[in-house]
Subunit: 325 residues, 2 copies
Protein backbone atom coordinates (compact mmCIF):
# COMPACT_ATOMS: atom_id res chain seq x y z
CA UNK A 1 0.00 0.00 0.00
CA UNK A 2 1.37 3.37 -0.98
CA UNK A 3 1.44 6.12 1.62
CA UNK A 4 -1.05 8.86 0.82
CA UNK A 5 0.26 12.34 1.65
CA UNK A 6 -2.01 15.38 1.88
CA UNK A 7 -1.57 19.08 2.55
CA UNK A 8 -3.92 21.07 4.74
CA UNK A 9 -4.14 24.83 5.00
CA UNK A 10 -5.87 26.58 7.89
CA UNK A 11 -6.69 30.13 6.80
CA UNK A 12 -7.33 32.30 9.85
CA UNK A 13 -7.95 35.99 10.35
CA UNK A 14 -4.44 36.55 11.67
CA UNK A 15 -2.36 33.57 10.56
CA UNK A 16 -2.09 30.81 8.01
CA UNK A 17 -1.05 27.33 9.15
CA UNK A 18 0.00 24.59 6.75
CA UNK A 19 0.50 20.91 7.59
CA UNK A 20 1.74 18.04 5.46
CA UNK A 21 -0.18 15.02 6.70
CA UNK A 22 0.05 11.26 6.27
CA UNK A 23 -3.55 10.22 5.61
CA UNK A 24 -3.49 6.78 7.24
CA UNK A 25 -2.05 7.97 10.57
CA UNK A 26 -2.91 11.66 10.71
CA UNK A 27 0.78 12.24 11.43
CA UNK A 28 2.11 15.73 10.63
CA UNK A 29 5.28 15.39 8.52
CA UNK A 30 5.91 19.13 8.40
CA UNK A 31 4.21 22.34 9.45
CA UNK A 32 4.63 25.99 8.49
CA UNK A 33 3.00 29.23 9.60
CA UNK A 34 2.85 32.80 8.34
CA UNK A 35 0.80 35.92 9.06
CA UNK A 36 -2.35 36.19 6.95
CA UNK A 37 -1.91 39.94 6.29
CA UNK A 38 -5.31 39.95 4.67
CA UNK A 39 -5.09 43.70 4.00
CA UNK A 40 -2.82 42.76 1.06
CA UNK A 41 -5.84 41.20 -0.66
CA UNK A 42 -6.86 37.66 -1.64
CA UNK A 43 -4.31 37.26 -4.46
CA UNK A 44 -1.35 37.93 -2.18
CA UNK A 45 -2.77 35.69 0.55
CA UNK A 46 -3.42 32.86 -1.90
CA UNK A 47 0.12 33.09 -3.30
CA UNK A 48 1.47 33.06 0.29
CA UNK A 49 -0.52 29.91 1.02
CA UNK A 50 0.81 28.22 -2.11
CA UNK A 51 4.37 29.19 -1.19
CA UNK A 52 3.89 27.78 2.33
CA UNK A 53 2.72 24.47 0.88
CA UNK A 54 5.83 24.37 -1.33
CA UNK A 55 8.11 25.13 1.63
CA UNK A 56 6.41 22.60 3.91
CA UNK A 57 6.69 19.91 1.22
CA UNK A 58 10.39 20.68 1.06
CA UNK A 59 10.63 20.31 4.86
CA UNK A 60 8.97 16.89 4.50
CA UNK A 61 11.28 15.95 1.61
CA UNK A 62 8.48 15.37 -0.84
CA UNK A 63 7.55 17.02 -4.10
CA UNK A 64 4.30 18.99 -4.34
CA UNK A 65 3.33 16.62 -7.15
CA UNK A 66 3.33 13.79 -4.60
CA UNK A 67 0.42 15.36 -2.70
CA UNK A 68 -2.79 13.42 -3.28
CA UNK A 69 -4.84 16.54 -2.58
CA UNK A 70 -4.86 19.87 -0.77
CA UNK A 71 -7.51 20.98 1.71
CA UNK A 72 -8.22 24.61 2.55
CA UNK A 73 -10.05 25.36 5.79
CA UNK A 74 -11.77 28.74 5.69
CA UNK A 75 -13.40 30.76 8.49
CA UNK A 76 -16.77 31.20 6.86
CA UNK A 77 -19.03 30.22 4.01
CA UNK A 78 -17.93 28.82 0.66
CA UNK A 79 -19.15 26.72 -2.24
CA UNK A 80 -17.85 23.16 -2.22
CA UNK A 81 -18.51 22.50 -5.90
CA UNK A 82 -16.74 25.59 -7.27
CA UNK A 83 -14.16 26.18 -4.54
CA UNK A 84 -15.15 29.85 -4.33
CA UNK A 85 -15.49 31.65 -1.00
CA UNK A 86 -18.79 33.40 -0.27
CA UNK A 87 -18.11 35.28 2.93
CA UNK A 88 -15.12 35.17 5.31
CA UNK A 89 -16.03 37.98 7.74
CA UNK A 90 -12.70 37.99 9.61
CA UNK A 91 -10.62 38.70 6.50
CA UNK A 92 -10.20 42.14 4.91
CA UNK A 93 -12.83 42.55 2.19
CA UNK A 94 -14.62 39.44 3.50
CA UNK A 95 -13.46 37.44 0.44
CA UNK A 96 -16.81 37.69 -1.36
CA UNK A 97 -16.74 35.30 -4.33
CA UNK A 98 -12.98 34.70 -4.36
CA UNK A 99 -11.98 31.66 -6.50
CA UNK A 100 -9.65 30.37 -3.78
CA UNK A 101 -9.85 26.72 -4.85
CA UNK A 102 -9.17 27.31 -8.57
CA UNK A 103 -6.29 29.73 -7.85
CA UNK A 104 -4.57 27.29 -5.47
CA UNK A 105 -5.18 24.42 -7.86
CA UNK A 106 -3.50 26.44 -10.60
CA UNK A 107 -0.58 27.40 -8.34
CA UNK A 108 -0.01 23.90 -6.96
CA UNK A 109 -1.17 21.64 -9.76
CA UNK A 110 -3.06 19.48 -7.29
CA UNK A 111 -6.81 19.05 -6.54
CA UNK A 112 -7.97 21.52 -3.89
CA UNK A 113 -11.04 21.20 -1.65
CA UNK A 114 -12.46 23.84 0.67
CA UNK A 115 -13.99 23.17 4.07
CA UNK A 116 -15.27 25.29 6.96
CA UNK A 117 -12.51 25.56 9.56
CA UNK A 118 -14.62 24.37 12.51
CA UNK A 119 -15.75 21.32 10.56
CA UNK A 120 -12.09 20.62 9.69
CA UNK A 121 -11.27 20.72 13.42
CA UNK A 122 -14.04 18.22 14.16
CA UNK A 123 -12.90 15.82 11.42
CA UNK A 124 -9.30 15.85 12.64
CA UNK A 125 -10.25 15.37 16.29
CA UNK A 126 -12.70 12.60 15.35
CA UNK A 127 -10.21 10.58 13.32
CA UNK A 128 -6.96 11.18 15.23
CA UNK A 129 -7.68 13.25 18.35
CA UNK A 130 -10.05 13.23 21.30
CA UNK A 131 -12.81 11.47 19.33
CA UNK A 132 -10.84 8.43 18.19
CA UNK A 133 -13.06 5.35 18.18
CA UNK A 134 -16.29 7.27 18.74
CA UNK A 135 -19.23 6.80 16.38
CA UNK A 136 -21.07 10.09 16.80
CA UNK A 137 -19.00 13.16 17.66
CA UNK A 138 -20.09 16.75 18.29
CA UNK A 139 -17.32 19.35 18.39
CA UNK A 140 -17.38 22.97 19.52
CA UNK A 141 -14.62 25.48 18.68
CA UNK A 142 -14.71 28.08 21.43
CA UNK A 143 -12.47 30.85 20.12
CA UNK A 144 -13.11 34.45 19.08
CA UNK A 145 -16.46 33.08 17.90
CA UNK A 146 -18.06 29.68 18.40
CA UNK A 147 -18.10 27.13 15.59
CA UNK A 148 -18.78 23.45 15.50
CA UNK A 149 -19.46 20.33 13.58
CA UNK A 150 -20.91 16.83 13.72
CA UNK A 151 -19.21 13.62 12.60
CA UNK A 152 -21.02 10.31 12.24
CA UNK A 153 -19.12 7.12 11.52
CA UNK A 154 -15.88 9.01 10.87
CA UNK A 155 -17.37 11.38 8.30
CA UNK A 156 -18.72 14.88 8.67
CA UNK A 157 -22.49 15.26 8.63
CA UNK A 158 -23.48 18.08 6.25
CA UNK A 159 -27.27 18.14 6.02
CA UNK A 160 -28.63 19.30 2.71
CA UNK A 161 -26.48 22.39 2.21
CA UNK A 162 -23.28 21.98 4.20
CA UNK A 163 -24.39 24.14 7.12
CA UNK A 164 -25.19 21.32 9.56
CA UNK A 165 -23.20 21.70 12.77
CA UNK A 166 -23.28 25.53 12.85
CA UNK A 167 -23.90 25.11 16.56
CA UNK A 168 -22.34 28.36 17.72
CA UNK A 169 -25.66 29.81 16.59
CA UNK A 170 -27.98 27.61 18.63
CA UNK A 171 -30.52 29.85 20.36
CA UNK A 172 -29.95 29.39 24.08
CA UNK A 173 -32.49 32.05 25.11
CA UNK A 174 -34.94 33.52 22.58
CA UNK A 175 -34.62 36.93 24.28
CA UNK A 176 -30.85 36.80 24.78
CA UNK A 177 -28.13 39.21 23.59
CA UNK A 178 -27.94 40.21 19.93
CA UNK A 179 -25.41 38.11 17.99
CA UNK A 180 -23.31 39.29 15.03
CA UNK A 181 -25.38 36.88 12.90
CA UNK A 182 -28.55 38.89 13.59
CA UNK A 183 -30.17 36.31 15.89
CA UNK A 184 -30.65 36.75 19.64
CA UNK A 185 -29.28 34.49 22.37
CA UNK A 186 -26.86 32.46 20.23
CA UNK A 187 -24.43 30.23 22.15
CA UNK A 188 -21.67 32.42 20.68
CA UNK A 189 -22.98 35.41 22.67
CA UNK A 190 -22.29 33.49 25.90
CA UNK A 191 -19.34 31.17 25.31
CA UNK A 192 -16.92 32.87 22.89
CA UNK A 193 -13.72 34.63 23.84
CA UNK A 194 -15.33 37.92 22.80
CA UNK A 195 -18.34 37.21 25.03
CA UNK A 196 -16.06 36.48 27.99
CA UNK A 197 -14.22 39.76 27.54
CA UNK A 198 -17.54 41.60 27.21
CA UNK A 199 -18.73 40.00 30.46
CA UNK A 200 -15.52 41.12 32.13
CA UNK A 201 -15.91 44.72 30.93
CA UNK A 202 -19.46 44.78 32.23
CA UNK A 203 -18.80 43.15 35.60
CA UNK A 204 -15.46 44.83 36.36
CA UNK A 205 -17.02 48.31 36.09
CA UNK A 206 -18.41 47.66 39.58
CA UNK A 207 -15.39 45.75 40.94
CA UNK A 208 -12.29 47.97 40.80
CA UNK A 209 -10.49 45.79 43.39
CA UNK A 210 -10.95 42.54 41.50
CA UNK A 211 -7.89 40.34 41.05
CA UNK A 212 -9.07 39.77 37.49
CA UNK A 213 -8.79 43.48 36.71
CA UNK A 214 -5.35 43.52 38.30
CA UNK A 215 -4.20 40.56 36.17
CA UNK A 216 -5.43 42.38 33.06
CA UNK A 217 -3.25 45.37 33.95
CA UNK A 218 -6.25 47.45 34.93
CA UNK A 219 -7.81 47.19 31.46
CA UNK A 220 -10.97 45.07 31.51
CA UNK A 221 -11.01 44.91 27.70
CA UNK A 222 -7.75 42.94 27.88
CA UNK A 223 -9.30 40.11 29.90
CA UNK A 224 -8.78 36.73 28.21
CA UNK A 225 -10.31 33.34 29.02
CA UNK A 226 -6.93 32.31 30.48
CA UNK A 227 -6.93 35.27 32.90
CA UNK A 228 -10.48 34.44 33.96
CA UNK A 229 -9.36 30.91 34.73
CA UNK A 230 -6.34 32.11 36.68
CA UNK A 231 -8.35 34.61 38.75
CA UNK A 232 -11.20 32.15 39.36
CA UNK A 233 -8.72 29.55 40.64
CA UNK A 234 -7.39 32.17 43.06
CA UNK A 235 -10.90 32.79 44.39
CA UNK A 236 -11.79 36.00 42.53
CA UNK A 237 -15.58 36.41 42.70
CA UNK A 238 -15.95 38.27 39.40
CA UNK A 239 -13.96 35.64 37.50
CA UNK A 240 -16.00 32.88 39.13
CA UNK A 241 -19.24 34.63 38.17
CA UNK A 242 -18.05 34.94 34.56
CA UNK A 243 -17.14 31.25 34.46
CA UNK A 244 -20.53 30.32 35.95
CA UNK A 245 -22.30 32.39 33.31
CA UNK A 246 -20.31 30.83 30.46
CA UNK A 247 -20.76 27.27 31.69
CA UNK A 248 -24.47 27.73 32.38
CA UNK A 249 -25.14 28.41 28.70
CA UNK A 250 -22.39 26.19 27.30
CA UNK A 251 -23.62 23.36 29.53
CA UNK A 252 -27.17 23.79 28.20
CA UNK A 253 -25.82 23.91 24.63
CA UNK A 254 -23.84 20.69 25.07
CA UNK A 255 -26.87 19.11 26.78
CA UNK A 256 -28.99 20.03 23.76
CA UNK A 257 -26.56 18.28 21.44
CA UNK A 258 -26.58 15.20 23.70
CA UNK A 259 -30.40 15.23 23.68
CA UNK A 260 -30.54 15.68 19.91
CA UNK A 261 -27.82 13.30 18.74
CA UNK A 262 -26.95 10.98 21.63
CA UNK A 263 -23.25 11.19 20.72
CA UNK A 264 -20.55 9.12 22.40
CA UNK A 265 -18.13 12.04 22.42
CA UNK A 266 -18.38 15.82 22.73
CA UNK A 267 -15.13 17.71 22.09
CA UNK A 268 -14.45 21.27 23.20
CA UNK A 269 -11.59 23.09 21.47
CA UNK A 270 -10.25 26.61 21.08
CA UNK A 271 -8.89 29.18 23.51
CA UNK A 272 -11.89 29.02 25.86
CA UNK A 273 -11.56 25.23 26.08
CA UNK A 274 -8.00 25.70 27.35
CA UNK A 275 -9.70 26.43 30.69
CA UNK A 276 -9.76 22.62 30.92
CA UNK A 277 -11.52 21.17 33.94
CA UNK A 278 -12.65 24.64 35.07
CA UNK A 279 -14.89 24.52 32.01
CA UNK A 280 -15.41 20.78 31.56
CA UNK A 281 -16.49 19.88 35.09
CA UNK A 282 -19.44 22.31 35.25
CA UNK A 283 -20.41 21.48 31.66
CA UNK A 284 -20.52 17.77 32.52
CA UNK A 285 -22.58 18.55 35.64
CA UNK A 286 -25.02 20.55 33.54
CA UNK A 287 -25.43 17.71 31.05
CA UNK A 288 -26.08 15.26 33.91
CA UNK A 289 -28.69 17.61 35.40
CA UNK A 290 -30.42 18.42 32.11
CA UNK A 291 -30.38 15.03 30.32
CA UNK A 292 -31.95 12.88 33.02
CA UNK A 293 -33.68 10.47 30.67
CA UNK A 294 -30.42 9.74 28.85
CA UNK A 295 -27.56 7.52 30.08
CA UNK A 296 -25.10 10.43 29.95
CA UNK A 297 -22.35 8.34 31.53
CA UNK A 298 -21.81 6.94 28.04
CA UNK A 299 -20.96 10.39 26.66
CA UNK A 300 -17.35 11.52 26.95
CA UNK A 301 -17.15 15.31 27.24
CA UNK A 302 -13.50 16.16 26.71
CA UNK A 303 -11.00 18.76 25.59
CA UNK A 304 -9.52 18.64 22.10
CA UNK A 305 -6.13 16.94 21.73
CA UNK A 306 -4.57 18.12 18.49
CA UNK A 307 -4.01 21.73 19.51
CA UNK A 308 -3.35 24.36 16.87
CA UNK A 309 -2.69 21.74 14.17
CA UNK A 310 -6.28 20.46 14.20
CA UNK A 311 -7.58 22.84 11.54
CA UNK A 312 -4.84 22.12 9.02
CA UNK A 313 -4.91 18.36 9.69
CA UNK A 314 -8.67 18.30 9.27
CA UNK A 315 -8.54 20.26 6.00
CA UNK A 316 -5.98 17.75 4.70
CA UNK A 317 -8.07 14.74 5.74
CA UNK A 318 -11.16 16.29 4.19
CA UNK A 319 -9.37 16.68 0.86
CA UNK A 320 -8.30 13.05 1.12
CA UNK A 321 -11.88 11.92 1.70
CA UNK A 322 -13.05 13.93 -1.31
CA UNK A 323 -10.45 12.35 -3.59
CA UNK A 324 -11.30 8.85 -2.39
CA UNK A 325 -15.03 9.30 -2.66
Amino acid sequence: MTTVILAGIDLGGTKIAVAIVEEASGRVLARRQAPTDSHEGPDAVLQRMAALVHTACGDASIAVTELAAVGLGVPGVYDLATGRTHFLPNLAGAWRDVPAGPVLRQALGRPVWLINDARAFVLAETLFGAGRGAHTVVGFTLGTGVGGGIAIGGRLFWGIDGTAGEIGHLTMDPDGPLCTCGNRGCLETYASGVAITAQAVQRLADAPDSLLLHLAGGAAERVTPALVGQAAAAGDAVAQAILAHVTKYLGAGVANMVTTLSPDCVILGGSVANLGEQLLAPVRASVRARCRAIPVDRVRIVQAQLGVDAGAIGAALWAGQQVNQ
Copy 2:
Protein backbone atom coordinates in the same frame (compact mmCIF):
# COMPACT_ATOMS: atom_id res chain seq x y z
CA MET B 1 -41.71 -9.85 -5.73
CA THR B 2 -43.94 -10.97 -2.86
CA THR B 3 -45.87 -8.34 -0.97
CA VAL B 4 -44.52 -7.88 2.53
CA ILE B 5 -47.25 -7.29 5.11
CA LEU B 6 -46.53 -5.94 8.59
CA ALA B 7 -48.55 -5.14 11.69
CA GLY B 8 -48.00 -2.01 13.76
CA ILE B 9 -49.35 -1.36 17.25
CA ASP B 10 -49.45 2.13 18.76
CA LEU B 11 -49.75 1.77 22.52
CA GLY B 12 -51.02 5.01 24.02
CA GLY B 13 -52.08 6.05 27.50
CA THR B 14 -55.77 5.97 26.57
CA LYS B 15 -56.05 3.84 23.43
CA ILE B 16 -54.39 1.15 21.38
CA ALA B 17 -54.32 1.48 17.59
CA VAL B 18 -53.38 -1.38 15.28
CA ALA B 19 -52.69 -1.14 11.55
CA ILE B 20 -51.96 -3.84 9.00
CA VAL B 21 -49.54 -2.22 6.55
CA GLU B 22 -48.16 -3.07 3.13
CA GLU B 23 -44.43 -2.39 3.49
CA ALA B 24 -43.69 -1.23 -0.05
CA SER B 25 -46.47 1.38 -0.19
CA GLY B 26 -47.19 2.20 3.43
CA ARG B 27 -50.84 1.48 2.62
CA VAL B 28 -53.06 0.55 5.58
CA LEU B 29 -54.98 -2.63 4.73
CA ALA B 30 -56.93 -2.64 7.99
CA ARG B 31 -57.03 -0.71 11.24
CA ARG B 32 -58.50 -1.44 14.68
CA GLN B 33 -58.68 0.51 17.92
CA ALA B 34 -59.52 -0.27 21.54
CA PRO B 35 -59.19 1.48 24.90
CA THR B 36 -55.90 0.78 26.66
CA ASP B 37 -57.50 0.36 30.09
CA SER B 38 -54.04 0.18 31.57
CA HIS B 39 -55.46 -0.18 35.11
CA GLU B 40 -56.10 -3.82 34.16
CA GLY B 41 -52.34 -4.39 34.11
CA PRO B 42 -49.79 -5.22 31.41
CA ASP B 43 -50.92 -8.84 30.87
CA ALA B 44 -54.48 -7.81 30.00
CA VAL B 45 -53.26 -4.97 27.78
CA LEU B 46 -50.81 -7.23 25.94
CA GLN B 47 -53.52 -9.85 25.34
CA ARG B 48 -55.85 -7.09 24.06
CA MET B 49 -53.13 -5.94 21.64
CA ALA B 50 -52.62 -9.50 20.37
CA ALA B 51 -56.38 -9.92 19.89
CA LEU B 52 -56.55 -6.64 17.94
CA VAL B 53 -53.80 -7.83 15.61
CA HIS B 54 -55.73 -11.04 15.01
CA THR B 55 -58.96 -9.15 14.30
CA ALA B 56 -57.25 -6.64 12.01
CA CYS B 57 -55.58 -9.47 10.07
CA GLY B 58 -59.04 -10.96 9.61
CA ASP B 59 -60.31 -7.59 8.33
CA ALA B 60 -57.45 -7.59 5.81
CA SER B 61 -58.16 -11.23 4.84
CA ILE B 62 -54.71 -12.46 5.79
CA ALA B 63 -53.49 -14.94 8.35
CA VAL B 64 -51.36 -13.74 11.27
CA THR B 65 -48.71 -16.18 10.05
CA GLU B 66 -48.43 -14.08 6.88
CA LEU B 67 -47.15 -11.07 8.84
CA ALA B 68 -43.42 -10.56 8.22
CA ALA B 69 -43.09 -8.83 11.59
CA VAL B 70 -44.95 -6.85 14.24
CA GLY B 71 -43.88 -3.43 15.55
CA LEU B 72 -44.94 -2.06 18.92
CA GLY B 73 -44.69 1.71 19.47
CA VAL B 74 -44.47 2.58 23.15
CA PRO B 75 -44.76 5.97 24.89
CA GLY B 76 -41.48 5.80 26.75
CA VAL B 77 -38.24 3.95 27.23
CA TYR B 78 -37.58 0.32 26.35
CA ASP B 79 -34.76 -2.07 25.49
CA LEU B 80 -34.51 -2.86 21.80
CA ALA B 81 -32.51 -6.06 22.26
CA THR B 82 -34.79 -7.72 24.82
CA GLY B 83 -38.12 -6.14 23.91
CA ARG B 84 -38.75 -5.23 27.55
CA THR B 85 -40.23 -1.87 28.55
CA HIS B 86 -38.29 0.22 31.06
CA PHE B 87 -40.63 3.09 31.83
CA LEU B 88 -43.93 4.11 30.22
CA PRO B 89 -45.03 6.94 32.53
CA ASN B 90 -48.52 7.38 31.04
CA LEU B 91 -49.57 3.78 31.74
CA ALA B 92 -50.73 2.49 35.12
CA GLY B 93 -47.74 1.03 36.97
CA ALA B 94 -45.43 2.66 34.39
CA TRP B 95 -44.67 -0.79 32.88
CA ARG B 96 -41.30 -1.14 34.58
CA ASP B 97 -39.47 -4.11 33.06
CA VAL B 98 -42.48 -5.64 31.30
CA PRO B 99 -41.48 -8.27 28.67
CA ALA B 100 -43.88 -6.79 26.11
CA GLY B 101 -41.95 -8.03 23.07
CA PRO B 102 -41.56 -11.65 24.25
CA VAL B 103 -45.22 -11.88 25.37
CA LEU B 104 -46.52 -10.58 22.03
CA ARG B 105 -44.13 -12.82 20.14
CA GLN B 106 -45.49 -15.78 22.09
CA ALA B 107 -49.11 -14.75 21.50
CA LEU B 108 -48.70 -14.01 17.78
CA GLY B 109 -45.91 -16.37 16.72
CA ARG B 110 -44.25 -13.56 14.79
CA PRO B 111 -41.08 -11.49 15.44
CA VAL B 112 -41.88 -8.34 17.47
CA TRP B 113 -39.83 -5.14 17.66
CA LEU B 114 -40.37 -2.21 20.01
CA ILE B 115 -39.89 1.44 19.12
CA ASN B 116 -40.53 4.77 20.80
CA ASP B 117 -43.86 6.14 19.56
CA ALA B 118 -42.54 9.55 18.48
CA ARG B 119 -39.74 7.90 16.49
CA ALA B 120 -42.36 5.63 14.87
CA PHE B 121 -44.33 8.74 13.85
CA VAL B 122 -41.19 10.26 12.27
CA LEU B 123 -40.36 7.08 10.34
CA ALA B 124 -43.90 6.81 8.91
CA GLU B 125 -44.07 10.49 7.94
CA THR B 126 -40.58 10.30 6.41
CA LEU B 127 -41.29 7.30 4.22
CA PHE B 128 -44.94 7.86 3.28
CA GLY B 129 -46.14 11.18 4.71
CA ALA B 130 -45.03 14.81 4.76
CA GLY B 131 -41.35 13.90 4.49
CA ARG B 132 -41.50 11.80 1.31
CA GLY B 133 -38.39 12.36 -0.79
CA ALA B 134 -36.52 14.29 1.89
CA HIS B 135 -33.05 13.21 2.94
CA THR B 136 -32.84 14.63 6.47
CA VAL B 137 -36.09 14.91 8.42
CA VAL B 138 -36.74 16.24 11.92
CA GLY B 139 -40.16 15.50 13.40
CA PHE B 140 -41.86 16.92 16.48
CA THR B 141 -44.95 15.33 18.08
CA LEU B 142 -46.75 18.14 19.87
CA GLY B 143 -49.33 16.34 21.99
CA THR B 144 -49.83 15.97 25.73
CA GLY B 145 -46.03 16.04 25.84
CA VAL B 146 -43.49 16.80 23.11
CA GLY B 147 -41.57 13.99 21.43
CA GLY B 148 -39.55 13.81 18.30
CA GLY B 149 -37.13 12.02 16.09
CA ILE B 150 -34.58 12.36 13.31
CA ALA B 151 -34.46 10.38 10.08
CA ILE B 152 -31.50 10.43 7.70
CA GLY B 153 -31.71 8.73 4.32
CA GLY B 154 -35.01 7.07 5.17
CA ARG B 155 -33.80 5.50 8.41
CA LEU B 156 -34.10 6.71 11.98
CA PHE B 157 -30.97 8.16 13.55
CA TRP B 158 -30.42 6.64 16.99
CA GLY B 159 -27.10 7.88 18.33
CA ILE B 160 -25.30 5.47 20.59
CA ASP B 161 -28.18 4.48 22.85
CA GLY B 162 -31.43 5.03 20.98
CA THR B 163 -32.25 8.34 22.66
CA ALA B 164 -31.26 10.63 19.76
CA GLY B 165 -34.16 12.85 18.74
CA GLU B 166 -35.59 13.30 22.25
CA ILE B 167 -36.10 16.92 21.21
CA GLY B 168 -39.07 17.69 23.43
CA HIS B 169 -36.38 18.06 26.08
CA LEU B 170 -34.19 20.62 24.35
CA THR B 171 -33.41 23.40 26.83
CA MET B 172 -34.92 26.57 25.36
CA ASP B 173 -34.09 28.73 28.40
CA PRO B 174 -31.71 27.49 31.12
CA ASP B 175 -33.86 29.26 33.74
CA GLY B 176 -37.23 28.25 32.28
CA PRO B 177 -40.10 26.35 33.91
CA LEU B 178 -39.49 23.01 35.60
CA CYS B 179 -40.23 20.04 33.31
CA THR B 180 -41.55 16.64 34.41
CA CYS B 181 -38.15 15.24 33.34
CA GLY B 182 -36.39 17.29 36.05
CA ASN B 183 -34.76 19.79 33.68
CA ARG B 184 -35.71 23.46 33.37
CA GLY B 185 -36.91 25.21 30.23
CA CYS B 186 -37.54 22.12 28.06
CA LEU B 187 -39.39 22.75 24.80
CA GLU B 188 -42.15 20.54 26.25
CA THR B 189 -42.81 23.14 28.97
CA TYR B 190 -43.72 25.67 26.26
CA ALA B 191 -45.18 23.78 23.31
CA SER B 192 -47.15 20.78 24.64
CA GLY B 193 -50.91 20.60 25.01
CA VAL B 194 -50.46 20.57 28.78
CA ALA B 195 -48.28 23.72 28.59
CA ILE B 196 -50.93 25.48 26.50
CA THR B 197 -53.65 24.67 29.03
CA ALA B 198 -51.39 25.82 31.86
CA GLN B 199 -50.78 29.10 30.04
CA ALA B 200 -54.53 29.52 29.64
CA VAL B 201 -55.19 28.90 33.33
CA GLN B 202 -52.57 31.48 34.25
CA ARG B 203 -53.61 34.16 31.75
CA LEU B 204 -57.39 33.73 32.05
CA ALA B 205 -57.30 34.40 35.81
CA ASP B 206 -56.96 38.07 34.87
CA ALA B 207 -59.26 37.99 31.83
CA PRO B 208 -62.75 36.90 32.89
CA ASP B 209 -64.32 38.36 29.72
CA SER B 210 -62.05 36.49 27.32
CA LEU B 211 -63.72 34.69 24.41
CA LEU B 212 -61.32 31.83 25.09
CA LEU B 213 -62.75 31.36 28.58
CA HIS B 214 -66.25 31.50 27.14
CA LEU B 215 -65.41 28.82 24.54
CA ALA B 216 -64.05 26.62 27.33
CA GLY B 217 -67.38 26.87 29.15
CA GLY B 218 -65.89 29.14 31.81
CA ALA B 219 -63.33 26.51 32.88
CA ALA B 220 -59.78 27.56 31.93
CA GLU B 221 -58.48 24.08 32.67
CA ARG B 222 -60.59 22.79 29.77
CA VAL B 223 -58.80 24.98 27.21
CA THR B 224 -57.41 22.91 24.34
CA PRO B 225 -55.05 23.92 21.53
CA ALA B 226 -58.04 23.87 19.16
CA LEU B 227 -59.97 26.37 21.32
CA VAL B 228 -56.91 28.63 21.47
CA GLY B 229 -56.77 28.56 17.68
CA GLN B 230 -60.49 29.31 17.36
CA ALA B 231 -60.37 32.22 19.82
CA ALA B 232 -57.16 33.65 18.34
CA ALA B 233 -58.71 33.62 14.86
CA ALA B 234 -61.66 35.59 16.28
CA GLY B 235 -59.29 38.21 17.68
CA ASP B 236 -59.14 37.15 21.33
CA ALA B 237 -56.08 38.80 22.89
CA VAL B 238 -55.41 36.09 25.48
CA ALA B 239 -55.50 33.35 22.87
CA GLN B 240 -53.21 35.35 20.61
CA ALA B 241 -50.77 35.88 23.48
CA ILE B 242 -50.75 32.14 24.22
CA LEU B 243 -50.07 31.35 20.54
CA ALA B 244 -47.27 33.93 20.45
CA HIS B 245 -45.67 32.38 23.54
CA VAL B 246 -45.88 28.85 22.12
CA THR B 247 -44.52 29.81 18.71
CA LYS B 248 -41.71 31.91 20.16
CA TYR B 249 -40.20 28.86 21.84
CA LEU B 250 -41.27 26.29 19.26
CA GLY B 251 -39.84 28.55 16.55
CA ALA B 252 -36.52 28.74 18.37
CA GLY B 253 -36.57 24.96 18.87
CA VAL B 254 -37.19 24.29 15.19
CA ALA B 255 -34.51 26.88 14.31
CA ASN B 256 -32.07 25.00 16.55
CA MET B 257 -32.74 21.76 14.68
CA VAL B 258 -32.27 23.56 11.34
CA THR B 259 -28.98 25.01 12.61
CA THR B 260 -27.81 21.65 13.93
CA LEU B 261 -28.87 19.31 11.14
CA SER B 262 -29.67 21.41 8.07
CA PRO B 263 -32.64 19.17 7.27
CA ASP B 264 -34.73 19.46 4.11
CA CYS B 265 -37.95 18.82 6.02
CA VAL B 266 -39.30 19.57 9.50
CA ILE B 267 -42.62 17.92 10.34
CA LEU B 268 -44.94 19.01 13.13
CA GLY B 269 -47.55 16.50 14.27
CA GLY B 270 -49.93 15.95 17.18
CA SER B 271 -52.89 17.91 18.53
CA VAL B 272 -50.99 21.21 18.80
CA ALA B 273 -49.88 20.91 15.15
CA ASN B 274 -53.55 20.77 14.17
CA LEU B 275 -53.43 24.56 14.61
CA GLY B 276 -52.01 24.41 11.08
CA GLU B 277 -50.90 27.73 9.61
CA GLN B 278 -51.63 29.54 12.90
CA LEU B 279 -48.66 27.58 14.22
CA LEU B 280 -46.61 27.00 11.06
CA ALA B 281 -46.48 30.58 9.76
CA PRO B 282 -44.91 32.10 12.90
CA VAL B 283 -42.59 29.09 13.28
CA ARG B 284 -41.34 29.58 9.71
CA ALA B 285 -40.87 33.30 10.37
CA SER B 286 -38.86 32.51 13.48
CA VAL B 287 -36.60 30.12 11.58
CA ARG B 288 -36.02 32.75 8.88
CA ALA B 289 -35.14 35.34 11.53
CA ARG B 290 -32.90 33.07 13.59
CA CYS B 291 -31.05 31.08 10.90
CA ARG B 292 -29.74 33.95 8.80
CA ALA B 293 -26.56 32.23 7.67
CA ILE B 294 -28.52 29.24 6.38
CA PRO B 295 -30.54 29.07 3.15
CA VAL B 296 -33.74 28.28 5.04
CA ASP B 297 -35.82 28.45 1.88
CA ARG B 298 -34.62 24.93 1.23
CA VAL B 299 -36.25 23.64 4.43
CA ARG B 300 -39.90 22.65 4.24
CA ILE B 301 -41.61 23.19 7.60
CA VAL B 302 -44.93 21.38 7.32
CA GLN B 303 -47.74 19.65 9.16
CA ALA B 304 -47.83 15.86 9.38
CA GLN B 305 -50.00 14.06 6.81
CA LEU B 306 -50.74 10.59 8.13
CA GLY B 307 -52.95 11.65 11.03
CA VAL B 308 -53.69 9.21 13.85
CA ASP B 309 -52.37 6.22 11.85
CA ALA B 310 -48.77 7.52 11.81
CA GLY B 311 -47.70 5.80 15.03
CA ALA B 312 -49.00 2.34 14.06
CA ILE B 313 -47.71 2.65 10.48
CA GLY B 314 -44.28 3.71 11.73
CA ALA B 315 -44.10 0.84 14.22
CA ALA B 316 -44.93 -1.59 11.41
CA LEU B 317 -42.30 -0.09 9.08
CA TRP B 318 -39.72 -0.19 11.87
CA ALA B 319 -40.35 -3.91 12.39
CA GLY B 320 -39.96 -4.41 8.65
CA GLN B 321 -36.60 -2.60 8.65
CA GLN B 322 -35.40 -4.73 11.55
CA VAL B 323 -36.31 -7.98 9.78
CA ASN B 324 -34.62 -6.89 6.56
CA GLN B 325 -31.47 -5.68 8.26
